[in-house]
């Protein structure tokens, strides 16, 4: 029986619902934990990052204006689409992270369940984090959590699919749009995950995924004037990125909301709570007189 030659995938960025190559024309070799080349990934440029922000901004009115129920349906659809590809992702995650297939499968399953968890939050956070305020006067007064806007996410460079999901799902659940930088071990699973997003009824531009060198792209996102918040989770001290402090200083220029990285890689299997959603919401309070 003759060996069949495998068809290899060309990895591309995910911006505005499309799969472009980097405008710079560059790629870089992504290696596994033993230094073997897995595939080439596009090496995103600063211009790619700016394009992704434009796409995310364009998607914001529609996504934040969608009903919470509708967003929940779409997040659940992402879980459904991911569940159907769990074997594929188990292979990719095992290769990328250098872990056993069993562990990789558990991590993929946890990622599916996390999408389900956040699917359920879309129409509940306002009842948990908002409410009616009994002010001392003839007014109706109530507060609701509203999305912050465009959120840049420097995703974990170690936990590829689960880390990425855990960071980006809470961002979009509340109506934000995201520009994700996936580097290190996360690059290839993240770009494959874009294929899941592309068939999940998620409007183009709500999640945009870039790969490349964090040292090149992260400062662009941190200083971008049309980015409203930044999640620095993937900026580990040894991750070869400009320091989290430098990025936080750059982010201060337009007072981005900053989610700082933890001292060490978070335990992604732990109960995620509501913290990551609340980090990227603004409380809006409405006053309305009562009387006749």
């Amino acid at each position: 029986m003759s060996e069949r030659l495998e068809v290899l995938k060309t990895y591309k960025l995910y911006v505005g619902g499309k799969f472009p190559r980097s405008e710079s024309g560059r790629v870089y070799a992504v290696t596994d934990s033993k230094g073997r080349t897995l595939a080439n990934a596009p090496r995103g440029s600063r211009k790619d990052a700016r394009d992704a922000v434009v796409a995310a901004r364009k998607a914001f009115p529609g996504w934040s204006g969608a009903t919470a129920y509708n967003r929940g349906q779409i997040l659940y659809r992402i879980a459904e689409m991911l569940e159907g590809r769990r074997e594929q992702f188990a292979t990719e995650v095992a290769e990328a992270e250098g872990i056993s297939r069993t562990k990789a499968l558990a991590s993929v399953d946890a990622a599916v369940d996390r999408w389900v968890w956040y699917a359920g939050w879309t129409d509940k956070l306002a009842q948990v984090a908002g409410g009616a305020n009994p002010v001392a006067g003839p007014f109706a007064n109530w507060s609701t959590p509203e999305p912050t806007g465009v959120v840049a996410v420097i995703a974990s460079q170690r936990s590829s699919l689960l880390g990425l999901t855990s960071a980006v799902a809470p961002v979009i659940a509340t109506g934000n749009t995201a520009v994700v930088l996936a580097a290190g071990a996360s690059a290839l699973p993240a770009l494959s995950f874009a294929e899941v997003l592309a068939v999940s009824d998620l409007p183009g531009g709500v999640i945009n995924i870039l790969t490349g060198h964090p040292a090149e792209i992260a400062p662009t996102l941190a200083s971008h004037q049309d980015v409203n918040a930044i999640d620095l989770t993937g900026v580990a001290p040894d991750a070869g990125v400009a320091s989290a402090r430098d990025l936080e200083i750059a982010a201060a220029d337009n007072l981005k909301r900053v989610l700082r990285p933890e001292a060490k890689e978070p335990d992604w299997s732990a109960d995620p709570g509501t913290g990551r959603m609340l980090a990227f919401t603004e409380i809006r309070t409405v006053w309305h007189p009562t009387g006749h």
Binding site: Y69, V116, A119, D123, K124, T290, G291, H292
Partner: protein, 478 residues
């Protein structure tokens, strides 16, 4: 030349539903006959055609169902919330997939227009399961303590006006909270509940978590009185609600009751009259007025009463009464002969007590149970039609002069389920809403429902809420 706006019939096909000649009780994951072989017939209220024979559960059957629910409770309540959530999400998705079939079946068994079952009832059913699915693993965030526990076995009795929607309102939060369920659907509308049982099997829901015991009043009484039922949930008449409250007195049973209503729909002189007219029509003729929160008492400010009533009459004349499966139908059949005679009795009392009746003219189908959209003017607060819940397409009209008088008249009722306010002034709408003793107040809209929004009554409209975070409380040991 005939009316150029006349519609051609546009019936929805019945081919999508498959009604068996007879149905058993759904206990412990299987359909079984009633112990004493009792049966009753469910009919299509639009044709009086017998649709199927339904088992009538007796005390022994109820006991079997409660025992199955008790057995299932141990493992169901111990399941991680995220796993319970996934079962409920599956159910939500299967309801969406079978949505058209369920809508047609609901319209056939209940008599409501397909436009409503297709666009309101069934989408809300799916949404309700979707919403509470998401709560199953978030109970610690609901504000009822860090580790809220389920109550146990829930005995639930639901009415015939929104058969599958009322099932969803009861079953979804119960299962999300980790409780198991024995549910009794109404005797005139059991078919979608039985189809729902099959959907639960398709979803792989563990045996005994959901049990459905069909039957009439006696079956419901047996369920509520069963000593191993921890939680009672009922939607229906205030009279039966009071009977239930007496039955469970002195026990440890928890109870929520969603009962009758006599909602005031207040129209101020600064309202957008055309919008208000649409809202009044939606309020009283949605589901033929067989709605506990129906806007059955129109309170209109005297200065615009004449204009509003002329416009309302004109609008009602465009309503189409008839075949529930016709996509153009606005008002379908009355659910049963018994309900129709109750409506007739109250309407006759309205005429006898001196109110002035106007009904939509036109021929009603020869067979089935029908009542034309009807408006009473010259109504006083003392008239029975202004006090008693009619549960049919009958509107009473009263006038008022000041906002204080509107609030006074609106609250002058034993009920307090819902109310409507129509004004273009936001401050006045909120001022009024804050003074209405009602569980749901719609301003410049009416009869809106959402799984995230709590629903339930003040006063003799019952207690407990269904929907949203607040709806979880009824199914948690808090």
């Amino acid at each position: 030349m005939g009316n150029p706006f006349e519609y051609a019939p546009a019936p929805e096909s019945r081919a999508i539903v498959d009604i068996a000649p007879a149905y058993g009780l759904f206990i412990d994951g299987k359909f079984t006959d009633a112990a004493d072989g009792g049966r009753l017939k469910t009919v299509d209220p639009a044709t009086e055609e017998v649709l199927a024979e339904i088992a009538v559960g007796g005390e022994a059957d109820v006991d079997r169902a409660v025992k199955a629910a008790r057995r299932a409770f141990k493992s169901w309540s111990a399941l991680p919330g995220a796993e319970r959530a996934k079962y409920l999400f599956r159910i939500a998705r299967l309801i969406q997939e079978h949505g058209r079939e369920l809508a047609v079946l609901e319209s056939i068994d209940n008599g409501k227009p397909i436009r409503e079952s297709r666009d309101v009832d069934i989408p809300l059913v799916a949404a309700h399961f979707f919403h509470y699915a998401g709560w199953a693993d978030k109970l610690a965030h609901a504000g009822f303590g860090r580790d809220p526990k389920p109550i146990g076995v829930a005995g639930q009795v639901i009415p015939w006006n929104f058969p599958l929607l009322m099932l969803a309102w009861k079953v979804a939060p119960a299962l999300a909270g980790g409780n198991t369920v024995v549910l009794k659907p109404a005797e005139t509308t059991p078919l979608t509940a039985l189809r729902f049982a099959e959907i639960c099997v398709e979803a792989g829901l563990p045996d005994g978590v959901l049990n459905i015991v069909t039957g009439a009043g006696e079956t419901g009484r047996a369920l509520i009185a069963h000593p191993d039922v921890d939680k009672v949930a009922f939607t229906g008449s205030t009279a039966v609600g009071k009977e239930i409250a007496r039955t469970i007195a002195g026990t440890r049973k928890r109870v929520t009751l969603e009962l009758g209503g006599k909602a005031a729909n207040i129209v101020y002189d600064d309202a957008a009259i055309d919008s208000a007219v649409d809202g009044i029509v939606e309020g009283i003729f949605f589901n033929g007025g067989q709605v506990c929160c129906a806007g059955s008492r129109l309170l209109v400010q005297e200065s615009v009463a004449e204009e509003l009533l002329a416009s309302l009459t004109r609008r009602i004349k465009t309503l189409r009464v008839g075949d529930p499966l016709d996509k153009n139908t606005d008002v379908g059949a009355i659910n049963s002969a018994a309900q129709l005679s109750r409506i007739r009795e109250l309407v006759a009392a309205g005429e006898a007590e001196g109110a002035e009746r106007w009904s939509l003219a036109g021929e009603l189908p020869g067979k089935g149970f029908w009542f034309p959209p009807t408006v009473f003017t010259g109504v006083t607060q003392a008239h029975r039609i202004a006090r008693d819940e009619i549960f049919g397409p009958v509107l009473t009209v009263q006038t008022f002069r000041t906002p204080a008088e509107a609030v006074e008249k609106a609250n002058n009722s034993a009920y307090g389920l819902s109310a409507g306010v129509w004004t273009e002034k936001g401050a006045k709408a909120l001022w009024t809403a804050q003074r209405l003793r009602a569980g749901v107040v719609w301003t410049n809209t009416f009869n809106k429902f959402d799984p995230a929004s709590p629903f339930g009554g003040f006063k003799e409209s019952g207690f407990g809420r269904e929907g949203g975070r607040h709806g979880l409380e009824a199914y948690l040991d808090v």
